[in-house]
């Protein structure tokens, strides 16, 4: 047991201590950047100083060994500094241009993956899955690995029409912020909760549980001191399960993954937009989810073949029309893809102009 006395509320470590000297010196004075090669950013300061950042893929779920390994590299080539990105990649911060190629060679020799800059696919923002979360409808890291293995050619090159930002969430809570990704992979349940009355009787506040259901599918069952679910109203969202472990949703035979497409968060050119569901369900075929891999690949290839330079997936689809997206990708359309929740009305085609 540690005997030290903890300090409360001291906040995060001070970032100032984490910055390499070149950044401290040129802080806020960066003039422009270039991408000399895939995975390498060159930022040039008003002072003329140049910082090279080498972006390296991370599985995100890493051991301390991984961290110690990259520390060694950072010590050798980066004065002991590195950073992680908002997509969980590692960025080696090279202030001495002479060390750039040696670093790259060392990285390649050790099997690190360099890429993810410019019009490429970067890491997939993702979540816990079967590794650590109780509500997961699928695994996170495994699907990401399978998909990225397949799409690797678009990680270490910059030949896409635009950036491709993917997100994966292992349940409808959507921790992976998949709701605004170019391509989102979302774990979905398809069956109503299986009620464990004992668990509910023991530890659940029934009114809160009833209130938690967005569709009003849960009613109190006073006789049983538990609740009942109207299966027809249930949309398998998992809100009740978050409230009570007695409402188990996981279902090995019916859980799976949905694909959503066309979201973005940048304001460049077009406003941020939500991803839209195009495939309501694909099976949970661990360990390598071939159906998901194939579905994602198909969408990307059709996008590449049809988009204009600079067009994100959603921008391309909005230009050609969603009806055209379905005809070009060959993905079947169904009533499942038509919104029937709160803001559904805005998605209905209130116009007589469309394509076949």
């Amino acid at each position: 047991m540690a005997v030290v006395k903890a300090k409360l509320d001291q906040g995060p470590p001070n970032y100032k201590e984490m910055l390499p000297p070149i950044i401290t010196e040129n802080y806020g004075k960066w003039a422009y950047h270039e991408i000399p090669s895939p995975g390498v950013l060159k930022h040039v300061s008003e002072s003329g100083a140049a910082l090279f950042s080498v972006r390296v893929a991370s599985p995100r779920l890493v051991s301390i060994d991984f961290i110690r390994d990259i520390c060694v590299l950072a010590d050798d080539y980066c004065d002991g500094f590195l950073r992680f990105t908002t997509r969980n990649n590692v960025e080696f911060l090279v202030s001495d241009e002479a060390k750039l190629n040696p670093l790259m060679d060392a990285l390649k020799a050790k099997g690190y993956c360099i890429g993810g800059t410019g019009p490429s696919i970067s890491n997939i923002v993702h979540t816990q899955g079967w590794i650590h979360c109780h509500t997961a409808a699928t695994d996170a890291s495994g699907v990401v690995k399978a998909v990225m293995d397949d799409l690797y050619e678009y990680f270490d090159t910059m030949k896409l029409p635009a950036k491709l930002k993917m997100g994966l969430a292992c349940c409808l809570n959507m921790c992976g912020a998949a709701h605004c990704s170019d391509i989102a992979i979302v774990g979905v349940h398809r069956t109503p909760p299986v009620i464990n009355h004992d668990v509910i009787r023991k530890g659940t506040e029934i009114p809160s549980l009833v209130a938690s259901c967005p569709t009003g599918a849960i009613r109190p069952d006073p006789k049983n001191k538990s609740v009942k679910v109207n299966d027809d109203k249930c949309m398998y969202c998992g809100n009740c399960y978050t409230m009570s472990p007695g409402m188990k949703l996981n279902d090995a035979r019916n859980d799976g993954l949905a694909i959503l497409v066309g979201g973005k968060t940048s304001n460049a050119r077009s406003a941020p937009s939500f991803s839209r569901m195009v495939i309501p369900f694909l099976p949970n075929t661990s360990p390598r989810w071939p159906e998901v891999v194939a579905a994602v690949r198909n969408i990307i290839e059709v996008w590449i073949a049809n988009a204009q330079k600079g067009e994100r997936i959603g921008e391309w689809v909005e230009r050609v029309g969603w009806e055209r997206f379905f005809s070009l990708t060959g993905i079947p359309f169904s009533d499942m893809l038509i919104d029937d929740y709160i803001f559904s009305r805005e998605t209905f085609r209130t116009g007589a102009a469309f394509k076949y």
Binding site: D231, G262, F274, A352
Partner: protein
């Protein structure tokens, strides 16, 4: 109280636009109620408040609607307006008239009513504005004898209407006048005997210009369109070019799908047919040179209505293309509407328009239960949320592969 002077209303006889006040004054010459409407209206103009109230139900034998009961709230001051009901008459398709018919309307109305009308009401009816309760049946009887029938009011199919269509428009993709006539006749019972959760309207427009504003003003919008590619007459294009018409900037650059290309050198206009969304813009701009395709029909949209209760809705696509060329083609449309109304009748709450019922219960449920096949043309874009309902009975409890086979 019934002061004859109307200084405020007189202000509205000034100016270029035709004056309704003048019209009331003209009617007032021969009608006591029209004559009393002037001081009543003057009073509303002075007090800035209306003086009408709804009250007892009025009507005609054998019908459940078609007359709007109206009573002045100060009958002591305006005895001739104590009852001042409106009779709605079905108009002929496209509001075409021969003068004989119009004079018949005038004659009967002169005899029994205020002599004031709306030509027409915004749903489309001939509106006979202001009569007493005991005149209603005689009015109906005489109009009926003259070949007229009542329009809709209450929770029923309302009076339909249609654009001028093939009667005088080169864009018409189906016969709006005939479709409206035929289909209205089919649904006489639905129109005359309220029995639904709320009102329901149909409007017929011959093309996507939607000159009846059906998409905003009717629960069912029937909008003409075509299935193949629009037709470009190269000779006529050259004529436009010769006349200096700015084809590129006014036509091509404003095509929403950018599928039109104009070659200035050759004066040729070409189209990528499958990318055209049939918005009508280029045809509107160059009616001599561009025409709808040959395979004509209509898009059926559902749900349009005004703002009460759940917000205004515009109709949305439920059948992208339906042939409407002959009477035989009307049959599937009638079947469709029967099915839709039946579903609404079963599921709708009181005072809930069909669009609101579908919104509340979900398009998916609506489509499944009416048997209308889902197609991407129904939506601008798919759902953003992952809240899909799965039919538990249909669920392949073993999971499905991308190719549809079981796990």
């Amino acid at each position: 109280m019934t002061e004859k002077k109307t200084p405020l209303l007189d202000e509205l006889e000034k100016g270029k636009w035709p004056s309704f006040v003048t019209e009331i004054k003209r009617a007032a010459v021969r009608s006591a109620s029209a004559a009393e409407l002037l001081p009543l209206l003057e009073r509303s103009y002075r007090e800035r408040i209306g003086h009408w109230k709804h009250g007892g139900i009025v009507g005609v034998r054998g019908y459940g609607g078609g007359v709007i009961g109206r009573y002045v709230d100060v009958p002591e001051d305006y005895p001739n307006l104590a009852e001042f009901h409106t009779v709605r008459l079905l108009q002929p398709s496209g509001w075409f008239y021969n003068t004989k018919t119009l004079r018949t309307v005038c004659d009967i109305w002169e005899k029994h009513g205020s002599g004031l009308t709306n030509m027409h009401g915004s749903t489309g009816d001939i509106i006979l504005l202001g009569c007493k309760t005991n005149e209603i049946q005689p009015i109906f009887d005489e109009f009926s004898e003259a070949g007229f029938d009542l329009g809709g009011s209450g929770s029923c199919l309302r009076t339909t209407n249609c654009c001028v269509g093939p009667g005088r428009c080169e864009h018409a993709c189906y016969d709006t006048l005939d479709a409206c006539y035929n289909i209205t006749n089919e649904f006489m019972d639905e129109l005359h005997r309220p029995m639904w959760p709320y009102k329901s309207k149909i409007k017929f427009s011959g093309c996507a210009n939607d000159c009846t504003s059906s998409i905003a003003r009717s629960d069912c919008s029937v909008i003409g369109t075509w299935r193949d590619t629009l037709i470009i007459d190269p000779v006529a294009v050259k004529e436009y070019a010769a006349n200096g018409y700015p084809i590129k900037s006014q036509v091509c650059d404003k095509c929403p799908t950018s599928c039109l290309t104009y070659n200035k050198e050759t004066q040729e206009l070409t189209i990528v047919g499958e990318e055209c969304s049939r918005c009508m813009h280029c045809i509107n701009m160059m009616p001599k040179a561009i025409h709808p395709g040959k395979e004509k029909g209509a898009t059926i949209l559902i749900g349009g209505k005004s703002t009460i209760v759940q917000s205004a809705f515009m109709s949305w696509v439920v059948v992208p293309f339906m042939k409407l060329e002959s009477e035989d083609d009307y049959e599937p449309f009638k079947e469709l509407m029967r099915g839709i109304w039946e579903w609404w009748d079963e599921n709708g709450k009181t005072r809930e328009r069909i669009g609101e019922t579908i919104y509340r219960l979900g398009m998916g449920k609506f489509l499944r239960e009416t048997g209308i096949p889902p197609v991407p043309q129904m939506v601008f874009r798919p759902r953003a949320n992952p809240y899909v309902f799965w039919n538990q009975d249909e669920l392949d409890k073993s999971g499905t592969m991308l190719d549809g086979s079981a796990l």
